[in-house]
Amino acid sequence: MKDNYQKIIDTYTPKEDILNNSIIAFITGGLMGIIGEALIEFYTFIMHIPSKEATVCMLITLIFLGCILTCLGFFDKWVNFCKCGLIIPITGFAHATQSAALEYRKEGLVTGIGTNMLKLSGAVIIYGIIGSFIFSLIRMLVGLV
């Protein structure tokens, strides 16, 4: 009976609109890229910050915006609409961390925020570090550095 039940489930499980979602994510993600680029230009040419530091300033600005908009309570709706357009950029990381921090604030600064803030985004940090280590190792072994 297992296969029959699984067959029925498959019949009535709707397909996700992959094409539609991809187009939305492509456009919104592209807009995020434009905003990021505009911020770098702003920091380089108007604030006269060296271009390497300007990139860091851009990231900090986007993280700040992601956090503050999450706190204002409507960013989750934007993320839900834009999907990977806002999740893959640094704004998604900021949103995930900030939303967890908000959620556990009432359980204390250490036992609440401290323990749970990286609940969603902790995996990104861990595998980001492992990934960058592996790729650096490969680069070193191939002799690119």
């Binding site: 029959n4 960013f75 999740i87 995930a96 939303s99 609940k119």
Partner: protein
Amino acid sequence: MTIYFKNVFINETSTITGPYEKNGPLSQYFDKSYNDLYFNQETWEQAEEKIINESIDMLKEKSKIKDIDILLGGDLLNQIVASNYAASKIKSPFIGIYSACSTSTLGLILASTLVDNNIVKNAVTFTSSHNNGAEKQYRYPVEYGGPKPKTTTFTSTGAACALLSKLKKGIKLESGTIGRVVDSKTTNIFHMGAVMAKAAASTINRHLKDTNRTIDYYDLVLTGDLGIYGKEILKDYLKLKYDIILKNYNDTGTMLYDLKKQPVYAGASGPVCAPLVTYGYIFDEMKKCKLNKVLLVATGALMNPTMTNQKLTIPAIAHAVSLEVIK
């Protein structure tokens, strides 16, 4: 296992909901609705506790009873914590029950057994759930907006209470079938309809066999919170496996919200979903004699994030009660 009750009636009910339910099509049938999910409390958990107490107080006021002989209830939070804290404020013996979203019908069956066997004079059963409390515990932080599949159900917010006694008033509770735990063989936590439909089918079949009835005996068969896709799965599976064709059938998960306008994906879920719709809307229809016999099959996915992370399949259960208009 089906238990028959000679003389048990649901005398009075009370329902309190949150804002999403208030904006749904059944808002006129609820006793009270809040516009804010905090209900003037500090946290989601305390908010849930508050509406349980408030609905019990409301039930006492409506039915004019002073003492509750026994209180039965449960919710979705870990250690059914909202129920336990709410019960600590009430000076009655308390049985905490957990059967996920089928807690309501399990409560009704247990309470009826106690009343029918003269162990208690009256019994109050309650169930509650809180959307944000459940999201926090089972899924993601409330403010996190990651996309969800279309099959996701939306945990309803509210508390519902029922007073049962031998007094011939209200709706008759004729019999109840305690379900068996059925392994759905699925692991998709975003498709609870698929997880629970098999359990619902098993309980409906067992109820009809035990009582020697056909499905046409009931004017309406109601399932708990299968959602729009689970509903179709149940219909197909019942036909295929048990040769039962559901005609007068609906799912409370698809009735509580306006599925086109509200952001609830496949429909409502949560322990309070079935009683909110039944105590409010269905009882009203029964009192108007538009419906005479109703089979309520509340379905519960016995999901635990630890076990699903260990790649185990999700078990489900369904308990059925047969409700009748007093003749």
